[in-house]
Subunit: 391 residues, 2 copies
């Protein structure tokens, strides 16, 4: 069994909690878990107030919503995230949920237990854990500096591949050409791609696709997961969506509909109205400003850490930086096996900064830590200064 | 495969939609799906506004919450739903979720596929569908007028029993003595009880338990599901909770924690603050008034339908009435097999009233329909009048 006893971030939270209890005076800064710090934008807050008032009046009260989401939100998603980019997606292919973690965790229920599942290594733990719980075999595709974090096509038969781009945890991307190779491989070999686009809003480069459906043939082989968590600070609001094309070679649209209608009862009306608000002109402007704020953090982190002698990947089209730990001179943590957890400990105990040890994302994550750009400017700058002082 | 192509209520919604399209002038009244009509109470709306404002300010913004729920809500649940009744439940045993349907649907993931699962018949479809999807064998325990809707102990080895009391769909209850027999059986035979207490807030009778843990030994064999959907009109807000005692004979608390941390990312902060508000003195008073409103509907429905010659069960400690269709004289629908769907059609086409055909809840539901007391007074009275006129 490849399943560890605890969920990675629950383990980290425990270690941080223990440190805080021993050092109650320490001002711990978290650049670890990918949680946001900036508040909901005014357009979203206004939508929440309006929805709360509606729910308090008989005439406008809403009970059970459609299991797959309200049309007002599904249509806004189709128009803004797809048609505006020239992609043909129908509202019947959109499934609104309480977040991409639920969907990426639950979607594997539609697979036979015999399916072989490929994931990148390092990887967001949910893809692996949810499939291992179901007893499926996992094939790992190493992504390291040696292959510029571009996974190679599996050397053996697999049935499903999870791809997350911009990538969590490495912050790296695939170009449209690189992604097209995966779509071509999937179609030739009857493989399903589960594409996690949770971080697409952070893309700055022209040649990096926001959706796998920018490659039109992907409509036959790919399911795409989206989150409002990082796009609009919805980590505490809970809303995301999944695209399950009706044109897939297997009838997953119908099966996912049956699954969701049976084991899910729709997303909070308030969360759906909140999500709708980010597609208004004001909402768009406001969330773009917040994303620019985080990407300015990312830029400063890249520059500052590089200046300190670290080798840094990611952080240009994603809110994550993937920092090589052994390149550090003089090395604050022992090199070799376990170095990412030891660097985590050093960061926490010396600089009072929380990172995520790369090994927690898989064996190829060893020798790296993940830093997030989701802190406040002030805390991020302070964390960088502390790391510098302790080197 | 015992899984029907569609979820029951999705099927009904389609039939109703088709009728409405053919009869756009018809004023269809739904006493079918168990959705509520009364708005959120003022204490809840106030809590939602407060939470929305908090989320709009950096200083009070909340990102990812604890996967198992915020302490403020878990503690309120423990104090009000358990300790106030003399039941010893710890906050670490409370798992807050986006609703009881998600939890009752997902909890079976902790079971081996070889487990044999007993359910009452008729039954809330989620217990059956989620287990059939996992390939488990189902044993049905008939509940009919003949056994006063009290299921008999299974005649063969089963591993898990789902019990829902007050019952959906029949609206009937178990006394404390009757429930104790199930707990004793479960402990003697190493059986798990999954107890769905979604309707406990509607209990009026003294000898009907609100929680299975009123039988103290149940802490060793029972998991309990709760919903705020009907208690406080949260069908569109999405919040519920599940109690997984640490004292169970199998370590389900740890396993459910691992499952939720992996595949779920916590319940909306706004929904949790809304749920907390129902435990304030004002909140309690307000939701009690709404429950009294629905139970007055139930009383009037019972009396009126009985007066028309129907045989009616439930509706005294539950918002559901279970109405025998063949007892009707003169019979508007053919008797025998299929009568509950035919009576559904008659109700829809003649009286423009939506009920739920008993057969949709299982074979022993044939010959009955479920009516809910969740309509407005006005619509409920109007529906009864129309049925009377069409008899």
């Amino acid at each position: 069994m490849e399943l560890s006893g605890n969920y990675l971030f629950a383990d980290i939270a425990k270690k941080v909690q223990a440190f805080k209890e021993e050092n109650p005076e320490a001002n711990v800064i978290s650049l670890g878990i990918g949680d946001v710090t900036q508040p909901l934008c005014p357009a979203v807050v206004e939508a929440l107030h309006k929805a709360a008032d509606e729910m308090g009046q008989t005439a406008t009260f809403r009970g059970y919503g459609p299991e797959r989401g309200y049309d007002f939100l599904r249509n806004a998603i189709v128009e803004n995230d797809y048609r505006a980019r020239g992609i043909d997606i129908d509202a019947e292919e959109v499934f609104v949920s309480d977040g991409a973690k639920s969907d990426t965790g639950n979607f594997q229920e539609l697979l036979s237990d015999e399916c072989v599942v490929a994931v990148t290594d390092p990887v967001y733990p949910v893809y692996v854990d949810s499939n291992v719980m179901a007893g499926r075999r996992i094939v790992k595709l190493p992504c390291t500096a040696e292959n510029s974090f571009v996974p190679g096509i599996p050397g053996e038969r697999v049935d499903v591949v999870y791809l997350c781009y911009p990538n969590n945890p490495t912050g790296t991307t695939l170009t449209k050409d690189q992604l097209k190779k995966w779509v071509d491989y999937a179609l030739r070999n009857d493989v399903l791609i589960f594409y996690d686009a949770a971080y697409e809003a952070f893309i700055q480069s022209e040649n990096v696709p926001h959706s796998i459906y920018e490659i039109p043939e992907a409509r036959r082989c790919a399911v795409e997961f989206h989150s409002f968590s990082k796009t609009a600070g919805f980590t505490g609001v809970r809303c995301g969506y999944t695209i399950v094309p009706k044109t897939l070679n297997v009838p997953l649209n119908r099966l996912w509909s049956r699954r969701q209608c049976t084991k899910f009862n729709g997303t909070s009306y308030l969360s759906q109205r909140a999500a709708e608000a980010i597609y208004t002109p004001e909402g768009k402007k406001q969330i773009r400003a917040t994303i620019a704020y985080y990407m300015e953090n990312a830029r400063l982190m890249r520059e500052t850490l590089t200046g300190m002698g670290f080798t840094v990947y990611g952080g240009t089209d994603a809110p994550y930086l993937w920092v090589k730990t052994p390149s550090l001179t003089p090395a604050p943590a022992p090199k070799g096996e376990g170095s990412s957890w030891r660097f985590f400990d050093w960061m926490l105990h010396s600089a009072h900064v929380v990172c995520t040890p790369g090994a927690g994302f898989g064996p190829s994550g060893e020798g790296y830590v993940r830093l997030t750009a989701f802190g406040t400017h002030e805390a991020t700058m302070e964390a960088l200064q502390r790391i510098k002082n302790k080197l």
